[in-house]
């Protein structure tokens, strides 16, 4: 299957790979997995006092599209509020990366990772 140039770019030069301390109260961690392909994705957001995402890191074990989707998301969420971040949809991701239909679930995984991270943050703040 042919990957788009953007997917290849993110795959070869993934942005923001790594981890923050998940026990840090300002860190939101989203863990998600796709049973169909066995991909595992961890997205972490570092959130400032004003509720703005200051930094983001990810680690994904999966195919090129899953890596590219999560790498792209770390770029997109920076500077957004957590509510704005949850407005990012899988369609936005799939369009930007020109994902073929069989790889749409990779973009869904990345969208779900944002939602999981935000809900982790909210439960930490509660």
């Amino acid at each position: 299957m042919a990957y788009s140039e953007k997917v290849i770019d993110h795959y070869e030069n993934p942005r923001n790979v790594g981890a923050f301390d998940k026990n840090d109260p300002t860190v939101a961690t989203g863990m998600v997995g796709a049973p169909a392909c066995g991909d595992v994705m961890r997205l972490q957001l570092k959130i400032g006092d004003n509720g703005i995402i200051e930094d983001a890191k990810f680690k994904t074990y999966g195919c090129g599209s899953a890596i590219a989707s999560s790498s792209l998301v770390t770029e997109w969420v920076k500077g957004k509020s957590i509510d704005e971040a949850t407005e990012i949809t899988n369609t936005d991701i799939a369009q930007e990366l020109a994902l073929p239909p069989v790889k749409i679930h990779c973009s869904i995984l990345a969208e779900d990772a944002i939602k999981a991270a935000v809900s982790d943050y909210k439960s930490k703040q509660a």
Partner: protein
């Protein structure tokens, strides 16, 4: 939907005798093989051809543990979540992440063996959960079995990747 256990005339259980299954498959395969019906009418040929295909499908499903477990849930009318749905059991996923990291750092026989042992232990534990859940014949048991079947897919993938990396490195 067709109950593949009835088709093979074996009890509808998660634990099955794979040797017996194979023997029954071979018998049924021969009985319905197209070569036996060269002189039959077109309608009969079609019928046996369909039967033969169904027997192959059934064997494919029953001989693989995850597919067999899913089939039992399906024939009991349990609604499984879509395979495309995101899995979000946090502690399980963290463990998966850790094992993938361990795999990416494995460079010698010892580290691969340790990882494979761990995958085997986790797999057997999940297979027990599937078996117990399905044997219970109740909703809670079916839910537990479905959850364990989903988790087994991640472990299967990990096992495949471990094998591929091992071949590449060792």
């Amino acid at each position: 939907m067709t109950n593949y256990f009835s088709l093979f005339n074996i009890p509808e259980k998660f634990s099955i005798d794979l040797i017996e299954l194979k023997a029954r498959y071979q018998t049924l395969q021969k009985l319905t093989h197209p070569d036996r019906f060269v002189n039959a009418s077109d309608q009969e040929k079609r019928m046996y051809m369909q039967k033969n295909t169904q027997i192959n499908d059934a064997y494919f499903v029953l001989s693989a543990s995850v597919k067999r477990g899913e089939h039992i849930l399906d024939i009991r009318g349990f609604k499984r979540v879509d395979e495309q749905a995101t899995h979000s059991d946090n502690s399980f996923l963290m463990q998966q992440m850790m094992l993938r990291e361990q795999l990416s750092e494995a460079t010698d026989e010892v580290s691969f063996n340790a990882l494979e042992d761990e995958v085997t232990t986790l797999t057997n534990d999940l297979l027990d959960k599937v078996r117990n859940g399905l044997d219970s014949h109740n909703e809670a048991g079916h839910r537990a079995a479905a959850d364990a079947l989903t988790k087994l897919k991640f472990l299967a993938k990990l096992g495949e990747e471990s094998l591929a990396r091992k071949e590449q490195i060792l």
